[in-house]
């Protein structure tokens, strides 16, 4: 194929006016300061580029350039030259909203923190003045100044709580924000009345400090959600795959898959992954459907063969007509299973929600009982109400609001450093509960790339020669040979014969790399197939010297050790694969996994997970294939490697990076530790209440005690959260 495709990214380009254009790219593999400088310098060097700025938090690049000659595709090519895969990215509405919300919370936090500091500056003299010699007129002046700061600040910074409480009350519900709002408003109102009556105590400091601590918790929680949404957004950008479409009989153009209509004809070159479902109308090749079915043996494709999105084309070019009816295809079937499974999972209730559901009624009843109790005991209504408000302030869930978000923030940072990205906010809690792991085989326990397994059997000079020859082929198996030989310079004059192999002439001798029949090595290949039936064979010949390369997916380097470590932690392991029995049996034996099943369909995987669930197991699914997506959604918690099919990646709760399987274990360890610390934090918060509430009910709480108790418990909870950073070595 010599046709050159044009690429059309105009869909993603924004016009900034005054001759400037803007595009956002999601970039894979940006993880360090070095990458950041390399990318920015590399892109800024292009003529007409006016801005190239990497966002390391989101793993995105913002680019601006002068309108005119520069084609956005050139930017993506440049990034590819620098070694980074980039995809045009369109910010979702939801993400814009989250970012706006996060900035609003930070503004509220800034205002509340400012007010707390300044009110404290005024409160400390009053507290010490009350026991020494402060004049009443000075105390009143300080109280009025506190009111001047605290009232407008609380009106602004309290908005997130007031709004949420109001919307809960309007539908006759109660959430955590109802007692918070009532507590803050009553405390401020009471303090104002007390100040007007020249009273000794005012609670302006406690009310505004409460808002500050709660806003810290809110902001951390929001930030975490924003982070996971950014990861999810990037994964969705990767999903925006492209296809090569025939715009006329001879002319092709690369377009986003979203722009492909049923009935269109697309070109599938060797080594390309198919992005659509369709039927082959022309060409002959082999396709690898392992991502869809888990089956590692290649399927021949010719006119009339059905191909599915996710299939990898191996040897020849194919023309594919996109299926008119998306219904009934494998992908549609998987999507349907996925929807059902996702619906079931959304019922999970987070620890924080469970805690707050109990909390609000208890707080209100306690405050009410305190007021009534004091009146019955003969106290004045004024004194009884002041005591009731003190109870409300003391019980406000300040430490409770920090208990969980701080741990989540610390734990997600630790997981990130271990190579795990969170795709769902509540994944940590669910992951910590997992006690049984179902693994997929292909691409999950094995590495996604093909590797040469018998490199030692081949003379080094011939190996490197074969590698250089392999550079001229598009066939994925040949690429594995080229990579194994670390070949850099292709041989001059190498010719690829589609579906056969490559040949070249070197010093008058013809060398060939390809099918055994192409190299005259059928006999050798037949013998080899008996030894290792799962491997793909590629032959190499130079005159009478003939060698075979066995190419296959290898197990992840640390898979066996990780499986053993999981067993040590009392976690059950099991393998469900769509691949053939001999391959699955061999992998299970090598890894020491006792339970395995081969040739499993997506529906059977779900059935097995449901069966485990009925036995009371909390199932974690680790898988990468399109066929795994529904079972990933059906499981209690799920994880995918970054190389997974995009559908699976965006369904999984967590995504792990790199070759080793170790991040799976690290994620479980961190999650378990995090859940442990979260529970501990909740206990600390409750213990604080158990100590302080009797004091408040007895009417002994002064503003000083309220402030000390509140900040003390909050700081304790935050410090304890830091323990989630590391897990003990075992």
């Amino acid at each position: 194929m010599t046709m050159q495709a044009t690429r059309d990214f105009s869909h993603y380009v924004k016009d900034l006016g005054s001759g400037l254009k803007h595009i956002d790219l999601a970039v894979e593999g940006v993880s360090c300061a070095g990458c950041m400088a390399k990318i920015e310098r590399g892109l800024s060097a292009l003529p007409d580029v006016t801005l190239a700025r990497v966002n390391l938090t989101n793993r995105r690049v913002a680019l601006e350039w002068k309108q005119g000659t520069l084609d956005p595709a050139r930017l993506i090519d440049r990034l590819a030259e620098l070694g980074y895969k980039a995809y045009p990215f369109e910010t979702e509405r939801a993400e814009v909203k989250e970012a706006e919300q996060s900035r609003f919370l930070l503004r509220c936090l800034a205002v509340a923190a400012f007010a707390t500091m300044n009110v404290m500056m005024l409160s400390v003299p009053v507290w010490s003045g009350n026991v020494s010699d402060m004049l009443p007129v000075q105390r009143d002046f300080f109280h009025w100044m506190s009111a001047l700061i605290a009232l407008p600040a609380a009106a602004y910074a309290g908005q997130p709580f007031f709004r949420s409480a109001w919307s809960a009350l309007r539908v006759r519900g109660v959430n955590m924000d109802v007692p918070i709002s009532i507590g803050v408003i009553l405390a401020l109102g009471m303090s104002l009345v007390e100040t007007a009556n020249h009273a000794e105590h005012a609670f302006f400091d406690a009310a505004i400090m409460l808002l500050t601590f709660l806003l810290v918790g809110r902001f951390l929680d929001q930030n975490m959600r924003r982070r996971t949404r950014a990861v999810a957004g990037n994964l969705a950008a990767l999903k925006a795959e492209t296809a090569t479409k025939f715009v006329s009989a001879e002319e092709i153009s690369v377009v986003p898959v979203a722009a492909i209509q049923p009935g269109d004809v697309v070109l599938l070159t060797p080594g390309e992954r198919c992005a659509v479902d369709g039927t082959v109308i022309d060409g002959r090749s082999e396709i690898d459907q392992s991502l869809i079915t888990g089956e590692t043996v290649h399927v021949p494709a010719e006119q009339g063969t059905q191909v599915y999105a996710g299939s990898l084309n191996m040897s020849g070019s194919l023309r594919v007509r996109v299926s008119a009816a998306a219904e009934g295809t494998l992908l549609a079937e998987i999507t349907r299973l996925l929807d059902n499974a996702l619906k079931a999972r959304s019922r999970y209730m987070r620890l924080a929600d469970r805690a707050s559901r109990l909390y609000a009624p208890v707080v209100h009843v306690t405050a009410l009982v305190t007021v009534l109790g004091w009146v019955l005991l003969g106290a004045s209504w004024h004194d009884a109400i002041v005591t009731g408000v003190a109870v409300l302030i003391i019980t406000c869930p300040c430490a409770l609001g920090l208990a969980i978000p701080t741990v989540q923030t610390v734990a997600s940072g630790a997981m990130f450093r271990a190579g795990v990205l969170l795709n769902a906010g509540d994944a940590i809690e669910r992951l910590a509960e997992a006690d049984h792991i179902v693994f997929d085989k292909t691409g999950t326990l094995t590495l996604p790339e093909l590797e040469v397994t018998n490199a030692a059997e081949i003379p080094a000079d011939l190996f490197s020669l074969a590698g250089r020859l392999a550079l001229s082929s598009h066939h994925p198996v040949a690429s594995a040979v080229a990579q194994a030989a670390q070949a850099k310079s292709p041989l001059v004059g190498a010719v690829e014969e589609p579906g056969q192999g490559v040949r070249a002439e070197l010093d008058g001798v013809e060398i060939r790399l390809g099918r055994p029949s192409f190299c005259g090595a059928e006999a050798l290949a037949a013998a080899r197939a008996d030894v290792d039936p799962a491997a793909s064979i590629v032959a190499f010949s130079r005159r009478d010297e003939k060698y075979l390369f066995a190419v296959r997916q290898r197990l992840r380097p640390d898979a066996e050790a990780i499986i053993a470590a999981l067993k040590l932690r009392g976690i059950g392991t099991e393998m469900l694969s769509g691949d053939r029995e001999p391959a699955v049996r061999a992998a299970a034996a090598a890894l020491g996994i006792a339970k395995w099943r081969a040739g499993v369909t997506p529906a059977q995987k779900i059935a097995r997970i449901e069966e485990l669930k009925r036995q009371g197991r909390k199932v974690m699914m680790v898988g990468d294939g399109m066929n795994d997506a529904p079972s990933l959604a059906a499981a209690h918690v799920s994880m995918s490697p970054i190389s997974a099919a995009h559908l699976s990646q965006s369904t999984a709760d967590l995504v792990f990076l790199g070759k080793p399987l170790a991040p799976v274990l690290a994620a479980i360890d961190f999650a378990r530790k995090a859940l442990h610390v979260m529970r501990q934090n909740l206990l600390l918060a409750i213990a604080y209440n158990a100590l302080a509430v009797p004091l408040a009910i007895a009417g002994l709480v002064t503003p000083l005690i309220a402030a000390a108790a509140m900040s003390g418990s909050s700081i304790l909870v935050m410090l304890n959260a830091l323990r989630a950073r590391s897990v003990g070595r075992s």
Binding site: C32, A33, M36, N55, T57, N118, M121
Partner: protein
């Protein structure tokens, strides 16, 4: 102690100046990429 009538509002004004500076830095997007900013501070170029 009448000096308090001047000093307390003065302290407040200074605090407000700090708040205004923070809100300005927030508006100008300085908190959009904290991970990157940590590294930019110690990089040699620019």
């Amino acid at each position: 102690m009448e000096v308090l009538v001047i000093l307390v509002p003065l302290a407040l004004v200074l605090g407000l100046a700090g708040l205004a500076a923070f809100l300005w830095s927030l508006r100008s997007g300085q908190y959009e990429d904290l991970d990157g900013a940590a590294w930019r501070a110690i990089s040699d170029d620019d």
